[in-house]
């Protein structure tokens, strides 16, 4: 892979809160990889019933797409994007 091309990709920071479960981190990381993003930094704190995970990642695809895929995970409680992009008007019904 061309390192210059890699560094040129947009970078984002996502803060994810997940319920405690054995495969939580694997689930999260797999979605990130499959949806076309690379993790450059990750930290996790474990509390009684949840995990707080901070991801710094990069990728050429829209970050909103990754965010919505992560939010679909049953054990994900919240995903917060520090660098918010533009999004479609959406009416939840």
């Amino acid at each position: 892979m061309n390192p210059q091309a890699q560094t040129a990709l947009p970078s984002y920071t996502l803060n994810c809160r997940m319920n405690q479960e054995a495969a939580a981190l694997e689930r999260l990381c797999q979605v990130v990889r499959v949806r076309g993003f690379q993790i450059s930094r990750m930290s996790m704190e474990s509390a009684d019933d949840h995990l707080d995970i901070a991801l710094t990642l990069s990728g050429s695809r829209p970050i909103a797409m990754l965010r919505s895929q992560l939010e679909k995970l049953h054990t994900v409680v919240d995903v917060a994007l520090q660098e918010q992009g533009a999004s479609v008007r959406s009416v939840s019904v």
Partner: protein, 564 residues
């Protein structure tokens, strides 16, 4: 009650009375509990992949959750293709596997695999039960989750010791239902009323939401010209005056033309899959888009929506229906144009009238469509025959058309038909398959015989992997590579070896008698249909190309040239 008995208790609570499975070491406590249970019918398939695909077919045909069971290790890994198939098509499924005892997990024990880790990407959710007391709650949550929102497979991996543990507190979790409220559709309505050439684009999400009736009412009230995806076939019903049929790679010229020319796409329960859209840059280039779906992650995934409505189709569509009944759309010219395209560019292939002529796939499927009862369930496999069914069989309901849309799983059809037959015990169920697909789960002939299912099997046999051969011919300079199956077994003799009567036909004048014979037979029967090796599915769009660049049987490649 022990853990295994709690699993069955959850089945009873949710009216799950048919499951498909295969026993083995680490799932034996559950099978032991089944001995004393009269409320759950366990269907023994002959391969775990078939268990998963039969559960899938059961779910598609019934609208209920499908359940499959297997042991650890190879039992679990054999399920994977079937579960991936359900995941790609959003089929509600509960997967139960045994796991090695808790203390042996991570020791490379006999028949141990990390099935939870292996399957993360093909499940809606999954559990490895590490606390027996949690099992009742997990069962309840899993069954609810598999069927809620956008459905999908949920996998529960249960160590053998947990199945044997006596559980004191069975308190099941009751999952909260969302509060019903009604959508604000005013902006979407304004877009509809201002459009000159609006087009309805619907997919499998309509059936997944059990919204067929709401959709049919909406299609009638709006009178929108409509195209369907492969999984949307059957909506809004047979002979709908504004239906243009399937779009996409093997869609009709009329459907792809309408998408190309429309100025508003009204997308309902569809994910804009690449087989349907072709190259996205050239897809509906002049259209704004309203996207209605249960899954927020589908909105903007592949094409930005100008307006998105996310939620239950059974609440959203009726709101449109009422508004459009009060004030219909004024799109008569566009409707007329689409009907003209449908007349000249639909799937009206002429039937071959020559009695002694070889049978063609389309001619056979069109006769089957005319002869089979209206409520017949057709379970396809994957390949050319699958596309001929999609193009030429007239379905009146999407649950009558079982097809592996997302994963394209060869071997799907036979076990899926078995599942559908258990969902419709007295109904007519036909597996339409090819010679390549049939051999991928042919062992399930034994399951048909064991349960004396009145299934009908039709093999369109071209003695090759026809769809691959077609693409090698068209896109790889006719360099055939490993598609030859002319050493197939004698399928008639093979069926008879399973005590299933069979019939062979090869001429056009034999089609009607062949179909009528198998349909009239009181029991399972196989019809072997010899077709030409050289036959192709037309039209076709080269993978990755725009739907504008359809190729027809004369190798012409520009839609605009031949759809006036």
């Amino acid at each position: 009650m022990n853990g295994a008995q709690h699993i069955l208790e959850a089945f009873h609570r949710h009216n799950i009375n048919t499951v498909f499975g295969y026993p083995g070491g680490c799932i034996m406590p559950l099978y032991d509990a089944l001995v004393d249970d009269v409320g759950v019918e366990h269907v023994l398939c002959r391969h775990e992949q078939a268990c998963a695909l039969a559960a899938d077919g059961f779910a598609r045909a019934s609208g209920e959750i499908g359940v499959c069971i297997a042991t650890s290790g190879p039992g679990a890994t054999n399920l994977i293709t079937g579960v991936a198939n359900a995941y790609m098509d959003s089929i509600p499924m509960l997967v139960i596997t045994g796991q090695v005892p808790s203390g042996l997990i991570g020791t490379d024990a006999f028949q141990e695999t990390d099935i939870l880790g292996m399957t993360l990407g093909i499940v809606k959710h999954s559990y490895l039960v590490d606390d027996a007391e949690a099992l009742p709650g997990i069962m309840e949550e899993a069954i609810t989750l598999a069927q809620s929102g956008r459905p999908g497979p949920v996998w529960i991996d249960i160590p053998k010791d947990i199945q044997l543990t006596e559980i004191e507190a069975p308190a099941a979790t009751t999952c909260a239902q969302p509060d019903p409220h009604y959508p604000d559709i005013s902006e979407a309505l304004a877009m509809l009323y201002s459009a000159k050439r609006p087009l309805l684009y619907s997919g499998g999400g309509v059936s997944l939401a059990r919204a067929e009736d709401s959709f049919r009412a909406f299609a009638n009230a709006s009178a929108l010209p409509g195209v369907v995806t492969l999984k949307g076939i059957g909506n809004p019903g047979k002979n709908h005056p504004h239906s243009l049929g399937m779009l996409g790679m093997h869609g009709s010229r009329a459907a792809n033309k309408a998408v190309d020319e429309c100025d508003l796409l009204f997308v309902v329960g569809a994910r804009l899959d690449d087989r349907a859209t072709g190259k996205l840059d050239g897809f509906a280039p002049n259209a704004r888009m309203i996207h209605i779906d249960a899954d927020a992650a589908e909105i903007n995934k592949l094409r930005p929506a100008d307006l998105a409505l996310r939620g239950d189709l059974n609440r959203i569509l009726p709101a449109f229906t009422e508004a459009l009944k009060a004030k219909p759309l004024a799109i008569a010219d566009w409707q007329k144009q689409c009907r003209t395209w449908h007349t000249t560019g639909g799937f009206q292939a002429a039937d071959n009238e020559e009695a002694l002529a070889p049978i063609t796939g389309p001619a056979f499927i069109r006769q089957l469509s005319r002869i089979a009862p209206d409520d017949t369930v057709i379970a396809c496999d994957v390949g050319q025959h699958q596309m001929w069914v999609a193009q030429h069989y007239e379905f009146d309901h999407p649950r009558h058309h079982l097809t592996s849309g997302g994963l394209g799983t060869m071997g799907f059809g036979l076990p899926a038909a078995i599942g559908a037959q258990f969902a419709n015990r007295r109904g007519t169920v036909i597996n339409v398959t090819g010679d390549g697909s049939f051999m991928m789960n042919a062992q399930e002939l034994a399951t048909i015989r064991r349960y004396n299912l009145p299934l009908k099997l039709i093999i369109l046999d071209n003695q090759c992997l026809g769809m691959v051969r077609q693409q090698q011919e068209l896109f790889y300079n006719n360099r055939e590579s490993h598609i030859n199956l002319d050493d197939n077994p004698d399928f008639v003799a093979m069926a008879r070896a399973f005590d299933i009567p069979a019939l062979h036909i090869e001429r056009t004048d034999q089609i009607r008698r062949g179909i009528e014979t198998i349909l009239a037979y009181d029991g399972p029967m196989l019809l072997h249909v010899a077709i030409s090796r050289e036959e192709n599915v037309w039209p076709i769009v080269k993978p990755g190309a725009s739907n504008r660049d359809m190729i027809d049987e004369n190798r012409r490649t520009t839609t605009k040239e031949y759809v006036a």
